[in-house]
């Protein structure tokens, strides 16, 4: 086979084939980076535990058994029981759902919002850009946790309000990233070509600009996940997150605080869970940055 034919043979036949090949090569790159692979494994495990919680948890996470309260680690309750005699392992397993829901909702609200605002600002430029970037500056001027605290306090406790508060503090970063990408993309020749074909601004933003911003946004989001988890846990710890008796990890630590010196496992177990999951997201984000964003 000539070199020409060889190249032709390895050329993807369709868009789907090209995407599959690219996805395969990227997955390979992540798998070759042991730290990123470990991070990915943690997240896959988290998702699996959250999905299979009803089958994995040995007990009902809300079932109280006051006679067996604050029991140490043992065969019956392998992570012990809390102050109301609830099985800590089961609460941790169900808590994976709460954590996953918070992270997914925050990402689903803030990343698209930041993407749209950033692309509009970057592509349109002028007054739209100035106004939108001033808005992001205002939100970035607050330390994140402080703004989330004030918002959560204003909205009242509860998971939905905590999600809203965290999402409102997360979008500006995505808007910044998307704007930077859009600024580069808007002067690209294929964008000129689309404009000459008579495409409107919104069409160009949606079809030409946004897809280019997605990979930087994915990196940014994966690096942000750990921060979201820690902020959510912090809000839960302060009593501004999930309401009891929901098995939220931060709230579990707050409840176990009284028993810290004598029954350390009540505080120890949920903290380890938060640490492992947020480390997993950080490891994956670090690895993804190397793969998806080579110029960073």
């Amino acid at each position: 086979m000539t070199a020409e034919a060889e190249r032709a043979a390895s050329m993807p036949r369709s868009v789907i084939a090209a995407r599959l090949a690219r996805a395969r090569s990227r997955t390979g790159e992540i798998a070759r980076n042991p730290l990123a692979a470990a991070g990915l494994a943690v997240i896959v495990l988290l998702v699996a535990v959250a999905v299979l919680a009803p089958y994995l948890a040995p007990y009902d996470p809300q079932a109280q058994e006051l006679a067996g309260r604050l029991a140490p680690l043992g065969p019956a309750h392998w992570l012990g029981t809390d102050e109301l005699g609830r099985d800590i392992a089961s609460r941790l397993i169900w808590g994976a759902r709460v954590t996953l829901v918070i992270v997914a909702l925050v990402a689903a609200i803030s990343a698209p919002l930041g993407l749209v605002l950033g692309c509009v600002a970057g592509y349109l430029g002028g007054w739209a850009d100035v106004a939108l970037m001033r808005l992001t500056d205002v939100f970035l001027a607050f330390p994140r946790l402080i703004l989330a605290l004030a918002l959560a306090a204003a909205l009242g406790p509860g998971i939905d309000n905590a999600v809203l508060a965290i999402a409102l503090t997360s979008w500006p970063v995505y808007a910044r990233v998307a704007r930077a990408e859009a600024l580069v993309a808007r002067s690209a020749e294929f964008v000129d070509a689309a404009r000459l074909q008579g495409a409107g601004a919104w069409h160009i933003i949606r079809r030409q600009i946004m897809p280019l911003c997605v990979s930087s946004l994915v990196v940014r989001a994966s690096l942000d996940m750990a921060g979201i988890i820690l902020t959510a846990a912090g809000l839960g710890f302060l009593g501004l997150g999930a309401r009891p008796p929901a098995p939220e990890w931060g709230a579990m630590i707050a409840a176990g605080r009284e028993y810290l010196f004598d029954q350390w496992w009540v505080v120890g177990a949920p903290g380890c869970a938060i640490l492992v999951v947020s480390l997993g997201f950080n490891l994956l984000g670090d690895g993804l940055r190397d793969v998806l964003d080579p110029h960073a």
Binding site: L35, A141, P143, I146, L155, A233, V267, G271
Partner: protein
Amino acid sequence: MASASRRARAAAAARLAVGVATTLFGLVLVTFVIGRMMPIDPVLAVVGDRASAATYAAERAEMGLDRPLPVQVWRYLRALAAGDLGTSVVTARPVIEDIGRYFPATIELATVALALGLALGVPAGVIAAAHRGRWPDQVIRITSLLGYSMPAFWLGLILLLVFYAELGWAAGPGRIEVFYEDLVTPVTGLLLIDAPLDGEWVILGNALAHMALPASVLGLFSMAYIARMTRSFMIEQLGQEYILAARAKGLSEARVVWRHALGNALVPLLTVVALAYGSLLEGSVLTETVFAWPGLGSYLTNSLFNADMNAVLGCTIVIGLVFLGLNLLADLIGSLLDPRVE
């Protein structure tokens, strides 16, 4: 020529001033809106729920809540400009006075934590960059990722359990032992400075023992951040041609790395230090709650629990202002020390 560049610089300064002013206004506006969203009726909080309708209406008018929103924003801004953040329902003192009382403890904690972060983070970053891709780099990378991933409030509790309850190496919660309280004449409000000024060495030792754990928790975060940034600045410097020249001249590797490369990496590091200080203010909220540290973070969370809105908004705005100031300072340091930045 010179006047043209001066004019350009004046224009840049004016742009910066306008930018800061709008951000500041936005900051106040956001706080105002949050205040209006609060589920607590501010009039009811003052008059109590047994007041008559007439008293209620009078107080409402007195607070200006019957005026149109823009007027309310204007009054809020005017009060802020005069340093009036309202009165705390819990302490019955002006919020600004409370903040002045609690802020030094937070500054002291953040400063010690930053010093720890610098002392460990800069060498770690330099070593990681000098051994890029090899095991010291990996160890330092994992350590700083651990620092980023650690829930601060949990680490604080675990440190209390191990080093205070089990081993007895460090002092427990609080800033100082109860029987030492109010023995030192407050000059700066910072115990670590006021105690030696008074010659109270025992109190200084006690304050340090209380400082050790919370400062370690916060120090871990700033270490993670500083080590990471130092590493990337150092890698950039080590790739420059003057490093090649220094090596060609026959300088020892240690001298090349620690003197030549680090010397040039220090300028961008200064901006990082300003930013790290800002994030320590944020981190102090949860850490102070765990260690019962009588700083701004504890004051803020206490006010939250007691629905003391004036205090919550006051803290939010003060922390926002300090944060904004530190960010500005970081930009300024960058442009003052680096002649290439206009």
